[in-house]
Symmetry: C4
Subunit: 262 residues, 4 copies
């Protein structure tokens, strides 16, 4: 028969992703991940009035269930933490509760439990959105994230310099646009921040496309701005893609040296 | 003189791309490929009313010819399969008919043969489109596809993580847009799914570009959304391009060790 | 004093880019390149009525001068070709004249010389544009081009497969758009070619952006089309960029082993 | 106690980025960098009338302070330059003042100091913008820039060829557009420069999107133009990203061999 301490040990290996010796997530952490993604999906769908109005009862029950599940997960983690020498005893548990990962777990539970008393107000909506915070719980499965962080850190100068270089070109193009078009179209080019926003809005298509430079020089600077804007996105993206590849090759190498446990 | 079994053997080597020892496709498979592409091209052109109405007779004959050619190809493959020990005898042929590749061939023939009896109805149009299924026949020439699949599989974590990271940023930006713009422009930003769709439609230019965020914060989040959206396409594309290169370098290496057969 | 044959030898080394031992172009080929680019620039500017109408005389003189310069260049090349054993004697010169590079040179001269007799007609405009053909003369400096060609050739399967894969996804998305939107918006989605054109026009922004899919499924397929469209451009571009890098690394390696000549 | 010459030596190591033995910038150069970025940020914000009108006093004081700080920095650099054998004595200081970096510093000070006497005129605005020239002071921290320059220089042929190849395709597509659409839509396609500008404006979205090719051939060439335009940005960007990576890997290698100094 499985004793109490055996079960705690089993739980510890299941819940702590650093203790799980095989590649990928443990079965229990896979279930937790699915619950997190479901909670986020339901939070997203609940914001849609057409869906919410027809399924009020469903969403009320769902949020109670998710709050309940996250509470149970929190309790199990608290119990299993005793297997770790760092978190043994009462003082150890206090330390565990105050660790960043546990605080994230706690903050992720609250917006599911506390929804009573106030209706469709500003605070209510903000609180609802805080449920998306459950995504931060995914940060726990951190070996991939850690590798990405390391790869990004090793390339931080490339990223900074490529962003800076592109941004300086955009700034100078915006200054030139302000200088050539600012008089005739003050609303869109009447200052460098306005010219910058006009360029960003035009490039990312998130702004109205109604205004365009009128002079030949203005058109030229707008084209320079546009090309610098593409580069300012494309170069860091390329560097990021390379960083990702490096991170996962590292990950794969590390995994290759890990011993399998049954 | 070429005997019956010699011819079957010759056909077997011509039709089975894994048995063909030289790089590229065998002459017969090249002809089959051209027939497939022609069949698809004619199916595509036939959907255009301006072309169809003037060439009814041509399309009627073409579909009969393609159905006929695919039927002959199917028969030849069935016959030649006897060269393979797995598919010998009557039981073997049943096995061959039930193999995925043969079922694909069978399903690709049907929409060319069965077009009688019903005119421009929903089912008729659906059936016509099923002719595009002939493209699946190309999946048979699989050594390149297999390498691509392997390269993709080896990089599945990069692809997943880069998609997930980009998607989370887009989700949070959509949530912020919903929060800042949802009240004033409920139609476009009144829920997270609406804000997400607005962003995707704006970025991919497949949606009407009539609505824009009105507040400064909303504009900022829209720009964040746009940049994350570019990254969410660019990074997996970069990883895919690298996977393609790897796949074909592998392919070339493998080909290099293959012996030429006359 | 420089004898006639010394001068021919000197010219031969100056004009034939394969004989020039130093990296880059020879001084004379640099001059020829500048003349070609000037001729193209003037041809481009001449099409603009605002510029042409005010500088008729200038353009008339310019085209005579360029025709004259290209004729001299042609003559010098013909003369210097005698240094090459392949093109010695009268028969050799005929061979030289019939070589692809010489024919390109000849065709590049004609549209500068023959402009008399007919005014602003269809033929006249076509003939004018043929002056852009002078760009083909640049193909002569071919060591870089040859390396690019080789790099492209080595990666032709990647390029083909990435284009094909993207195109098949676009085709299927267009077929789905035709199927879901074809009834309600026949003008834009009434056939697969129309849906394809709508998608290409929307993505490349060269078409009117007035029509959009109305159904949820249609929007989804439009988004799939857009993403496949980005990939269909981005992946071959990535492969091309890698091919360029390879080509020039090869070029640099080759140059490294070349001996300098004074 | 720190003597006068000790302090000059300390300043010399702090101010000259080539003398600073640790990775990154010295504490004093970090402060200078922050001052430069603040000065630029304030110059940018000052162009916005809504901000300027409410903070006239603040901007007046800020420009005096920045002028003052840059003057002090200039003086300190002039004093510390004596540590360098090249710039010893009076003649040495004249040499230092005439060095490019010192002239940049001088020109960066002037637009902050000289703002009296003339109000919102053309010259006034131009002079204001010259404050952005302070960004050129950042060029002093040049080891990263030098590596980037070297990497770019080593790949200059790739960059040139990829730009040229893309540009020739764009030029030919524009010529074809002019030829097919020039008659019916003279305003947008009536000359090659107009067709070129139409394409650039459409692609970079900086132009009005009102005109489109009407003929099938015109649409085709417009699509060719669009695809070449994407490639003409994407390929050099990819080559630049690779050059950046190379430059910083070199940088990191160099840094790895530098001895730390306390």
């Amino acid at each position: 028969m499985l004793g109490n301490s055996d079960m705690r040990k089993w739980l510890y290996y299941q819940l702590d992703s650093d203790q799980w010796p095989n590649p990928g997530l443990s079965p229990m952490n896979r279930i937790v991940t699915i619950i997190i993604l479901l909670a986020v999906a339901i939070t997203v769908l609940e914001t849609e009035p057409l869906i919410r109005s027809r399924n009020t009862e469903f969403f009320r029950i769902a949020e109670i269930i998710f709050g309940f599940l996250f509470t149970i997960e929190y309790g199990l983690r608290l119990w299993a933490a005793g297997e770790n020498d760092k978190y043994k005893g009462f003082i150890g548990r206090i330390k565990f509760i105050l660790s960043i990962e546990s605080l994230i777990d706690l903050f992720a539970i609250l917006p599911f439990l506390i929804t009573f008393g106030f209706e469709n107000t500003f605070l209510f909506r903000l609180f609802r959105l805080l449920r998306l915070f459950a995504l931060a719980k995914l940060g726990r499965y951190s070996s991939a994230l850690r590798n990405i962080y390391r790869a990004l850190h090793a390339r931080r100068y490339e990223l900074l310099m490529s962003l800076l270089a592109g941004f300086i070109v955009m700034l100078l193009a915006a200054a030139a646009l302000y200088f050539t078009e600012g008089r005739s179209n003050a609303e869109n080019f009447g200052s460098i921040p306005r010219a910058l926003w006009w360029g960003v809005a035009t490039l990312t298509k998130v702004g109205y496309g109604g205004a365009y430079p009128a002079t030949v020089l203005g058109k030229l600077f707008a084209a320079v701005f546009a090309i610098a804007g593409v580069a300012v996105i494309a170069m860091p993206t390329g560097i990021l893609a390379a960083a990702f590849s490096d991170a996962f090759q590292q990950e794969r190498k590390n995994r290759g040296t890990t011993v399998k446990m049954d």
